[in-house]
């Protein structure tokens, strides 16, 4: 996993076009390479083709497969499980947060996500 010292590649997953645009912009402005997709299913397709993703940042509430289910799929995969997964949600539901962190999520962010949230995360992941 990972691109070492070169540009970090982040996979952003959100079914909301507004939130996808915002998170992609925050990441690009922080000089990360971004692939933004609108569903967990599409995210898994991308990961199959390009497993060298440095971080996944995904919305929790999505139709079909939600962010928690995506997290589980990633952590169950031998190829993908080392990739840090960050969950985002507009709702602060303690049980949801606990469940995601116990499943191995790197962090759980409450929307709207700020550039400072992203730099803190990515700084931690680089180290």
């Amino acid at each position: 996993m990972g691109s070492g010292d070169s540009e970090m590649h982040v996979l952003a997953v959100d079914d909301s076009s507004v939130d996808r645009a915002v998170i992609a912009r925050i990441l690009r402005k922080s000089k990360y390479r971004v692939t933004a997709v609108d569903s967990a299913e599409r995210a898994l397709e991308i990961l199959e083709m390009e497993p060298s993703v440095d971080m996944i940042i995904t919305d929790y509430c999505m139709p079909e497969m939600n962010g928690y289910e995506l997290l589980r799929k990633v952590k169950e995969s031998r190829q993908l499980r080392e990739i840090p997964v960050v969950i985002m949600s507009s709702e602060n539901v303690p049980n949801r947060i606990t469940r995601c962190l116990e499943e191995g999520a790197e962090d759980f962010l409450i929307k709207p996500v700020r550039p400072s949230d992203v730099s803190r995360l990515c700084g931690r992941i680089r180290h």
């Binding site: 909301s16 076009s17 939130d19 645009a21 915002v22 912009r25 402005k29 509430c61 507009s90």
Partner: protein, 183 residues
Amino acid sequence: MLMICYSLYLIHNLVLLRYHLLDCYYIEKSNRMDYVNTRRQAASMRKCLFDQGYLDEQFYQLEDLQDDASPNFVEEVVTLFFRDSLRLMANIDQSLDKCAKDFNKLDVYMQQLKGSCTSIGASKMKTECTVFRDYCRDENIEGCMRSFQKLKREHSVLRQKLESYFQLLRQAGPIECATRPSK
């Protein structure tokens, strides 16, 4: 004689040059004043949007994300918002029209809409989304309908105001245009 004619010719050209330079000066000054006035109008409009509670500080966050690499970012995101919100509101309208009200579905749609409102800083709309969701939880259909009508009005007003604001910004253009004399 030839010298006199040549001198007159030079003087004539100098006078023409003087008027030309004066023209350029006044055109540039006028362009700058137009730019400044339009920008001032846009700034005033923007301030009203915040003062009247239509927008909150999340809109500042969007503005901070705009730069030379993405010079129209805020307008692009706002355009996406109005496109998505119209779709969601159409879904809510359809669901409310049905005889059997599915409050769970209504709540899901409204949660999505609220999320988008939060992301662009659409404060009044966000508040009304919360009111609607409270009515959903209580399965109060009249409350939902009243709240939804209010939400539609807030949406329409915000859209109008933001469209006018972005139109003014586009009219003003970047500062470089203000210094270029118009033809």
